[in-house]
């Protein structure tokens, strides 16, 4: 797979289809890949990597890259194409300056999960059959790939590439892998249980803003949380209220535009399951206003920028909820 991507990148550069390529660059270890812009076939040859650790969604970088002049190629995995199309829809990316190479993907891995499984001091990982073999400073360690997948990949919503100029590998299909199961589990809890669950999670937040800055839907030029005139600026949560406020508003601001790419949870240094907030909005929207997948097409209106006269009243919230049972 990696070889195919490299060849494609080199060909695109050589035949001048594009003058640079956005991809993943090798790091110090086998897993710490950094999104990077490659300018020459030599750079591609030397440093381009596509592996189970190419989790980073490159679509947000195209907001800036598509405005730098010239044409840029980007490798997008299925979930990345949803983010890309959503950004196109919001007129944030200049489509004509981007050459999208769609790549099929069967799940990316979370190095922290691998380490947590007892592979500390890991120096290399290779795939063997369905499993992974980790070489560590303290010997070899085997685990199934399923246990190493990023949370978002374990419940992958779609293998379909919704937008591309060229496809490497096969087109896939949308699928139902039960991504709302965890949300449902929370909904079934009592409010007290939910409250203490979320307090436990959100109290770990260090307000590093990684979730916001990585999010393809968070593309405001200036975030309200940075703007002293917004009345909402805060740099650190001085009170638990501010932890709650930040995460409610962050999720709310991307509601109905969030494609559920899962980057927020992937980058959180404190492993807060932020995607469960976004997914709650998605689930509510699906149930109340009809199924909607952000980024799936160019024509539909995001549900929060739309309405019908017969929409449910907010009081519907009182009647719903598992704790009624």
């Amino acid at each position: 797979m990696q070889q195919g991507l490299k060849e494609k990148a080199i060909q695109l550069l050589k035949d001048k289809t594009v003058d640079r390529v956005v991809g993943w660059k090798a790091g110090e270890f086998f897993y710490d890949l950094t999104p990077a812009v490659f300018h020459t076939p030599e750079e591609i040859e030397k440093d381009f990597v596509f592996s189970v650790f190419s989790g980073a969604n490159l679509s947000k970088y195209l907001i800036a890259e598509s405005r730098k002049g010239g044409k840029v190629a980007a490798f997008l995995k299925p979930c990345d194409t949803y983010s890309f199309q959503q950004l196109l829809k919001e007129h944030r990316i200049l489509r004509e300056n981007v050459y999208v190479v769609g790549v099929q993907c069967d799940g990316t891995c979370d190095i922290e999960k691998i380490k947590a499984a007892g592979c500390d001091g890991v120096t290399a990982v290779r795939e063997e059959g369905d499993g992974l073999v980790a070489e560590t400073l303290y010997g070899e360690h085997r685990m199934s790939k399923k246990d190493a997948l990023l949370d978002r990949c374990a419940v992958c919503k779609s293998h379909k590439l919704v937008v591309y100029d060229e496809l490497l590998g096969e087109q896939g299909e949308e699928q139902d892998a039960g991504r709302f199961a965890e949300v449902e589990k929370l909904e079934r809890m009592t409010p007290e249980e939910r409250y203490s669950f979320w307090r436990g999670e959100l109290s770990r937040c260090i307000r590093c803003n990684a979730c916001r800055n990585v999010c393809p839907a968070c593309s405001c030029e200036k975030c309200i949380f940075d703007n002293p005139d917004s009345g909402a600026r805060n740099k650190a949560a001085a009170d638990s209220f501010e932890e709650n406020m930040f995460h409610i508003i962050r999720a709310f601001h991307v509601a109905s535009r969030c494609t559920d790419c899962g980057e927020c949870s992937r980058v959180c240094p404190q492993h807060i399951p932020l995607h469960l907030l976004n997914r709650k909005f998605i689930k509510d929207i699906d149930e109340l206003y009809g199924e909607y997948q952000a980024g799936a097409d160019m024509d539909t209106k995001p549900p929060l920028m739309d309405f019908t006269k017969g929409d449910a009243d907010p009081s519907v919230v009182y009647e719903r909820g598992g704790d009624k049972a």
């Binding site: 270890f29 950094t34 812009v37 500390d120 400073l137 803003n209 240094p269």
Partner: protein, 340 residues
């Protein structure tokens, strides 16, 4: 040197937490290690290190400085400093222990920061030697020996026992009250150190070369064209800064509670766009300048001002946590290439 069978470790914790707070690294419900106030039943984390560094205990993320009551044209100062209480910080790794020296250089320099100073004076640091360093560890590059950690007391742990060695007056005083400790020889500790050092010799980053990262090369490093590609995918978040044990930049903010204006300080990050933004202009307009500042500070400016002491301890947290896997090791390697 003293020792204690591990089966009695709760007894030790109980004694340490009598009369003062005891913080130990413990896993929370989601399995994340953090320094937590010990209470009966809390188990020592098996993780190599905490997600957040030990600096929190001396330099918390948010801290009240002072309050103001404003009435008409009058302003009244309201004391709102949290009282400094004695505490024991147990299980600090050698890297974090060194970070306190670095923070001291900043906060204890004249005029000393009295909030930090009070916590430093009230805290007793009990360190724990490493036995299973991770691939991201590179403290040895900065001359730190993780098998011989500094601190008021140094500890070693093997499968059966905890070994305890007081290093300072504060440490001696703490030790004096611990009757469950028995005298011990050093053989077990030396053997363990030997074994750990073997692993240290295999660490992938052990050969990071810091040659040329000094004041003399300040301009050359600052002007390096490589900052552009190093910083190009930086998200401008504060993850590296906030998990870093030596990052110490702060902001002073205010909050109006309705009855009083609370002035507090909180961690800030040079990676943030508003860090240097003034109404009159912005000296670091793009992420390149902000990114460069962070690493120039740790690798060049700080050693220039502090007799060559680097502002990094090689704990590897930024290597593990950066969302885009850009980190100080990559910066050192990339910029260092020019000097070969």
């Amino acid at each position: 040197m003293k020792k204690l069978p591990l089966s009695k470790i709760d007894e030790l914790f109980k004694a340490l937490s009598a009369g003062q707070k005891l913080y130990i690294p413990a896993d929370d419900a989601a399995g994340q290690a953090k320094f937590t106030v010990w209470q009966e039943g809390l188990a020592l984390s098996q993780k190599l290190n905490t997600v957040r560094s030990a600096k929190d205990l001396f330099f918390p993320q948010v801290e009240n400085l002072v309050g103001f009551k404003v009435t008409g044209k009058q302003i009244e100062l309201i004391e709102s400093r949290d009282p400094a209480e004695p505490f024991v910080l147990f299980g600090v790794r050698a890297c974090d222990a060194r970070s306190f020296d670095i923070l001291d250089k900043v906060f204890l320099a004249e005029p000393a920061d009295t909030y930090y100073k009070a916590r430093r004076e009230n805290g007793v640091v009990v360190t724990m030697a490493c036995t299973r360093p991770a691939e991201t560890c590179f403290c040895t590059v900065f001359g730190i020996d993780p098998t011989e950690p500094a601190g008021d007391v140094s500890c070693w742990m093997d499968g059966e026992s905890l070994y305890w060695q007081a290093n300072t007056e504060k440490g001696e005083k703490l030790t004096a009250g611990l009757s469950m400790l028995e005298d011990s020889g050093e053989e077990a500790v030396r053997a363990q150190q030997e074994k750990t050092r073997e692993i240290l010799g295999k660490l992938p980053l052990k050969d990071l070369n810091l040659k040329g990262f000094d004041g003399e090369h300040m301009m050359e490093l600052f002007q390096s064209p490589k900052w552009a590609s190093l910083s190009e995918s930086c998200l401008g978040c504060g993850t590296c800064t906030f998990v870093c044990p030596t990052c110490q930049c702060y902001d002073i903010e205010e909050f109006n509670t309705g009855s009083e204006v609370k002035r507090f300080r909180c961690w800030d990050s040079c990676m943030y766009s508003d860090f240097t933004k003034m109404s009159a202009g912005q000296p670091r307009p793009t992420q390149l300048e902000r990114f460069r500042q962070r690493f120039m500070h740790k690798l060049v400016y700080f050693p220039t001002n502090n007799d060559g002491m680097y502002g990094c301890v090689g704990c590897g947290r930024c290597l593990q946590k950066c969302p885009i896997s850009m980190n100080i090791a990559k910066v050192i390697k990339t910029l260092g290439e020019d000097k070969k």
